[in-house]
Symmetry: C2
């Protein structure tokens, strides 16, 4: 008997990725730093789309990708995010539900379109992301059901949505709902530029005890803690949270907390095509393992295995089931 | 100096493919014959979509894929097809133009949506297609510009659009326009089920001299000619057209005409992921080579090379340039 309906409930961007192989020249012409994420308005997104090559569309959104990953691993996941009343919204809702993730947020009425992320993938498999959030900016606290939050073993929030008032308020309220139900709250720092825009807020958030599990990569950990040395940065952050989980790209991942410090190496991928979703699927694997009560090292290893799988194909979600990775 | 603006102008379905890996069980439950194409109405498409797993979207349409292939090979291609005024139409128009294909058909006003093709890809890389044509059914003769037809070295038509009055009339008129300008007309039989529905019409079309180059696979050639023996079938068809070009899957392809009979073997693909688009890209390679004045064997070989490329990835269009295949 579970006392939960879900291993993880996530709140995040509901966007469809528009993925095009590209060359380095377009990044240079657009003044884009490879591997970064920037936010565009609608006109900016349309202008860049005109310059992009033929693309493929796949549902995305960082936390949504993580929930799709948990479902693919055989876990129980739910997602809250705001789509518009349009074809891209239909695609987003179809894909996440078809993956087995509970998704019940009603589409927004009116002309605001579903968000999209224009992803330029260079031949070195690096992705550079350009997000037009659209309806996601309008995610409201009304979309959060306290009973659903209480029935998830972990609540997972993404920093990407911090730019907008409504979803930021919704996420903070959701964190309170989770703690009222004695559920831990996990938070991903998402992107170095997010920290640039919101560091004081994130410092307050982490310092306030609202976050129990903190996800980030090396650069994000250093930027949030303002320590150049990674170990110093992790030590500083780990003082405020139960668990600090740091990804290090090809160098693997580290978890620090509860008196433990565990590291795992990266898993060599069967191919290196598109790094989009590597962090999201790492979080999926770690969160699933952690929710299932596995030791830290096993949870990290599951994260590394799931990340290796998603970078071997285009797109930020697995193309099939990943249950074989989760076998004990 | 070219006396043409385009190597090939094609008229066909304007649809976005919705591609999902699937297992054989879903085909069995839906009563679908593997490798077939069926036409669905809107309700049927929505019902099947609900049953499909998470999908990716990529622009499709048989003749449109062929034009994208010609552009990827470095050729000059144009396409005429009917999209709706919606996000899928925007995606279709973006992708074909971004590939370098001229596409100027205005979007249809009103509520008719852009067509889509739900493609179930089984682990053996076979694709089973379920098409809701939407706006494509409404392609009208007004969309055909006689001056553009006259400026293309070859006009290419697809049998898929034969089910509907407006596009069928448009294609026949376009064939007359091409012959008025002394341009050859190529026609693909598209699918065995199309022949089932329209054999008398196709026999009349081929017998009338409106078709100069006929494309089909082995089964389609046998069904149209009503000969069980492939050589008999090809001989019967070749009596009515300048060139009869027949694909044979893993056995390669044959061209018969102008006193010649040439065969090439299939090109082994670097991977076998999704056979969607194999015939379309074969036609692209052959048509490009033929328009460039290459010998029959070289044109067949270019078709085989392009087909091998597209079946190594999901989707019916090449993910990058194919100019290296076209090098002399």
């Amino acid at each position: 008997m579970h006392d939960t309906d879900y291993d993880v409930l996530a709140i995040g961007d509901a966007v469809v990725d528009v993925i095009a192989p590209t060359d380095d020249a377009l990044l240079a012409e657009e003044g884009l730093r490879k591997g970064s994420m920037r936010v565009l308005d609608r006109d900016g997104a349309e202008r860049l789309y005109e310059r992009m090559g033929p693309a493929q569309e796949m549902s995305g959104g960082s936390a949504a990708n993580s929930m799709a990953g948990i479902a693919a691993l055989g876990g129980r996941a739910a997602f809250v995010g705001q789509i518009g009343s349009d074809q891209l919204g239909t695609i987003f809702a179809h894909d996440i539900r078809a993956q087995g993730v509970a998704f019940d947020t009603p589409a927004l009425d009116g002309d605001v379109t579903t968000g999209r992320c224009l992803i330029l993938v260079t031949p070195d498999a690096q992705r550079t992301m350009n997000t037009y959030r659209g309806a996601s900016e309008h995610l409201s606290v009304d979309a959060i059901d306290p009973a659903q939050v209480a029935k998830a073993a972990i609540l997972y929030l993404e920093a990407y949505l911090w730019d907008h008032d409504a979803p930021r308020v919704a996420m903070k309220k959701a964190a309170d709902m989770a703690h009222d139900a004695s559920r831990p709250v996990a938070f991903t720092l998402s992107d170095i530029a997010c920290i640039g825009r919101h560091r004081p807020d994130f410092v307050e958030l982490v310092g306030s005890g609202r976050i129990d599990i903190l996800f980030g990569n090396e650069d994000e950990a250093r930027a949030l803690a303002r320590h150049d040395d990674l170990d110093d940065a992790i030590a500083a952050l780990a003082g405020h949270v139960d668990l600090c989980v740091i990804t290090r790209g090809a160098d693997g991942a580290i978890a620090v907390g509860r008196g433990e410090r565990v590291a795992v190496p990266a898993v060599p991928p069967r191919a290196l095509v598109d790094t989009t979703g590597a962090g999201d699927l790492f979080a999926a694997g770690f969160l699933a393992g952690h929710a299932w009560g596995r030791p830290l090292e096993a949870s990290l290893a599951l994260g590394a295995a799931a990340a290796a799988e998603v970078i071997a194909d285009y797109g930020a979600r697995p193309l099939g089931q990943l249950r074989h990775l989760a076998a004990d």
